[in-house]
Amino acid sequence: MKRLAVVLAIFSCFRLFASDNRELEKRVMALSRQLRCLVCQNETLADSQAELAADLREQIREQMKAGRNDKEIVAFLTDRYGDFVLYRPPLKPRTYVLWFGPFLLLGGGLFALYRSLKRLGS
């Protein structure tokens, strides 16, 4: 049993459970779910059991307790780790193509289709 627990603790990347305050915990997890873990990069900060992920969740917890809102905490993290931690790419000049591209493409495509159909009919 003990061997199992020790091995699990070392090899597993699943996160440990929460603290006492249910509401606070919900908020911490909700925000952590939108952030990328930097060590286990295929997991969210909420799910990862990497030590850094636990440390960062603790940071988030403390800052929320201190009254900071989500935006400020996200800024804290992006100042240190860059936009890479955000799963939702922020709307900035360098992401304009990303966010607006699909809609421009859609408009262009539908317009091109319309023109082709009209030409076909005549």
């Binding site: 049993m1 699943f14 459970f17 990303l98 591209g101 539908l110 289709l113 159909l117 076909l120």
Partner: protein
């Protein structure tokens, strides 16, 4: 001995494939019948030798021959025999061999079922498919040889990744490849047509069943992957917009557009160049997906072999195949011709509008997947594009497409009228809108997104029913199989949407520390934790929890989620316990031991209607199968049929 035979077989297959590429193509250009005819025996022989090689590798795995590097790295004597067999394709090298085998299989199918096609076309198609075979065989032999021997073999192997020791994971690659590789047929048809400079409605008719069958397999492969992720990874999610998932989804979106575009081209001989482009795109995206998974270019769960040398090879291969076909397209597409005559408002135009929507969706997924790479290469830093982006964009583009799904099949070919459609569909619209608004209240409380999703799902189903009712009422007699196939596939989409909408809207989870005897309540059920015992499996050691599910004081079921540690590799894995139901899943995942007195962290999920997601996929597959097996294709080509469907 067998490893050497396997490797030798691959070399022979390569040589045959080279013949398969050259002689038939030259023969078709020069009109030499004998050279064109070489394609068929060459294709069959190439398949046989690849099959021999694959058989050798499989045998090496099953008999635990650890002198072969691939076996030693990916298998283990404690592994049950069916997983030893599956380990054949559990590695980069093995899965590539599987890809090549399946390509050989589709090649064989083309040689068997193309008797009614013009000889030049068959020759060119086999030649094109042969060129893909050459590429993959070279890739195998030069960079990814599964038959390499070890000079000092270990006594036992490293074990198959525990994540792959699972029935769904065993089936997932073969199904996926049957899809990816299947699109090579449509691709080869398209290239053939461009080279020959001639494309008529027959070309579309011949391409359709091949494309539909490949699409069916791809749907199954993706659904299996999603289902596996759901029950295996322990987080309760089923789609993460991970680059590798996207790599399979893009060909699916494009091939869905292709199937519908082929219908228009067959019917009206119109939009041929667009259809050809889609055929090229579908297979190109399959190849691109292969590159992304194996080159280490993107951060992904799937990290296969992250070896830049392999990445360079595939990229060159991609450049030649896709670049070559798109160059050919740029040069010849105009000759393929315009044609066709239908109104601005007609079933054809609705189909094509959906094509645009699907193509834009695929392009958006591609954009989101590659954007981090673009930004990084341009020196603009590093960012992530994750589910929030994809969910927003994809849903926005797909909502109108889902609405059109209801309108298209009801509209007349060639000339339809919007006012008339509105009249025929007004009750369907009202019913789905009202039900969509009301049902959420009855389930768990109103949510706008749930309302929208349900309305769309109901809209699709009700309009399908309306269409069927109209046909039967008008005395059109029994409908062709392909009609039912289409309707079933569309209903499958509706079921899928309903499942996604409801589970996303109403799912709940609780993550708690449980001592022995503790109970947690979720979704109207009580879950009582009775402790964890140590259990030994065939090749692992597990902590198995016993959790009782109680509803209204009565015991419903006992569940046994586990945390396993595999002996050979030391890897740890969660085995979730799921109580599946038509209307909900109860999903239990064991976390970690907590504290001293045998308490563990446990995650409990309530997942309403989640199985509808995969049920929808199954319906789509049945629909696809029906459509492909329709009479119009099974009977040899005669005159063009006038039956509408």
């Amino acid at each position: 001995m067998l490893a050497e035979i396997g490797q030798f077989s691959l070399i022979v297959a390569l040589l045959i494939a080279v013949i398969q590429v050259t002689l038939p193509m030259i023969g078709a250009t020069r009109g030499k019948r004998s050279w064109m005819a070489v394609g068929i025996p060459a294709g069959r022989a190439q398949f046989i030798f690849v099959a021999v090689a694959f058989g050798c590798l499989a045998y090496l795995f099953v008999t635990n021959d650890f002198s072969v590097l691939n076996v030693a790295s990916n298998s283990n004597s404690q592994l049950p025999v069916h997983y030893r067999l599956a380990a054949t394709w559990g590695s980069h090298e093995g899965s590539l061999l599987l890809w090549t085998l399946i390509l050989g299989f589709w090649t064989l199918a083309v040689t068997l079922f193309s008797g009614h096609l013009p000889k030049e076309m068959v020759a060119r198609v086999l030649s094109v498919m042969g060129s893909i075979s050459v590429g993959f065989l070279l890739f195998l032999l030069l960079t990814s040889n599964p038959f390499i021997r070890l000079s000092s073999p270990p006594s036992d192997g490293g074990d198959l990744n525990p994540l792959l020791q699972d029935p769904a994971m065993v089936l997932h690659p073969p199904m996926l490849y049957m899809g990816y590789v299947g699109f090579s047929v449509a691709f080869a048809f398209a290239i053939s047509a461009l080279i020959g400079g001639r494309l008529d409605a027959n070309w579309a008719r011949w391409s359709r069943p091949w494309t539909t069958v490949a699409w069916t397999f791809l749907t199954g492969g993706i659904a299996l992957g999603s289902f596996w992720a759901y029950y295996e990874l322990g987080w309760g999610g089923w789609w993460f917009w991970d680059p590798v998932e996207n790599a399979s989804f893009m060909p699916w979106l494009v091939s869905t557009a292709l199937i519908h575009s082929l219908a228009v081209t067959e019917k009206r001989g119109a939009f041929k160049s667009w259809t050809v482009l889609l055929a090229i795109a579908a297979f190109s995206l399959s190849l691109l997906g292969t590159f992304l998974v194996r080159s280490g270019v993107l951060t992904s769960v799937h990290a296969f072999a992250t070896d830049p040398k392999r990445g360079i090879f595939i990229l060159c291969f991609l450049g030649i195949v896709i670049g070559g076909s798109l160059l050919l397209y740029a040069w010849r597409a105009k000759q393929v011709g315009l044609g066709g005559n239908f109104d601005l408002v007609s079933r054809e135009s609705f189909l094509l509008t959906n094509n645009v929507l699907l193509a834009v969706a695929a392009a958006s997924v591609l954009l989101g997947t590659l954007y981090p790479l673009f930004i990084e290469v341009l020196g603009m830093g590093k960012l992530s594009v994750g589910p929030p982006y994809f969910n927003t964009i994809f849903v926005a583009v797909m909502v109108p497409a889902m609405f059109l799904l209801g309108v298209g099949p009801t509209a007349r070919w060639k000339k339809a009228s919007l006012p008339e459609l509105a009249v025929r569909l007004r009750w369907a619209f009202a019913a789905s809108a009202i039900a969509g608004i009301v049902i959420p209240f009855l389930v768990s409380g109103w949510k706008p997104r749930v309302s929208l999703g349900l309305s769309l799902a109901l809209w699709i189903v009700i309009t399908a029913a309306v269409s069927l009712w109209e046909r039967l009422k008008n005395g059109m007699g029994p409908q062709p199989r392909s009609y039912y196939g289409m309707q079933l596939a569309h209903v499958g989409v509706a079921v899928l949407i309903a499942g996604i909408t409801l589970v996303t809207g109403y799912q709940a989870e609780k993550d708690v520390r449980m001592d022995i005897g503790d109970t947690v309540n979720l979704g109207g059920y009580d879950f009582r934790f009775n402790g964890v015992t140590e259990v030994a499996g065939a090749n692992y050691l597990a902590g198995r929890a016993e959790i009782e599910i109680i509803r209204n004081g009565r015991m419903v079921r006992t569940m046994y989620p586990e945390k396993r540690v595999y002996n050979a590799s030391g890897n740890a894995l969660t085995e979730t316990a799921i109580d599946s139901g038509l209307f909900r899943d109860l999903y239990l995942s064991l976390g970690e031991p907590v504290g001293q007195n045998r308490a563990w962290s446990v995650r409990v999920h309530y997942k309403p209607f989640v199985d509808w997601i995969w049920a929808g996929a199954v319906l789509m597959m049945i629909g696809g199968g029906l459509a492909a097996s329709g009479r119009r294709y099974v009977k040899p080509a005669g005159k063009q049929r006038k039956v509408e469907s």
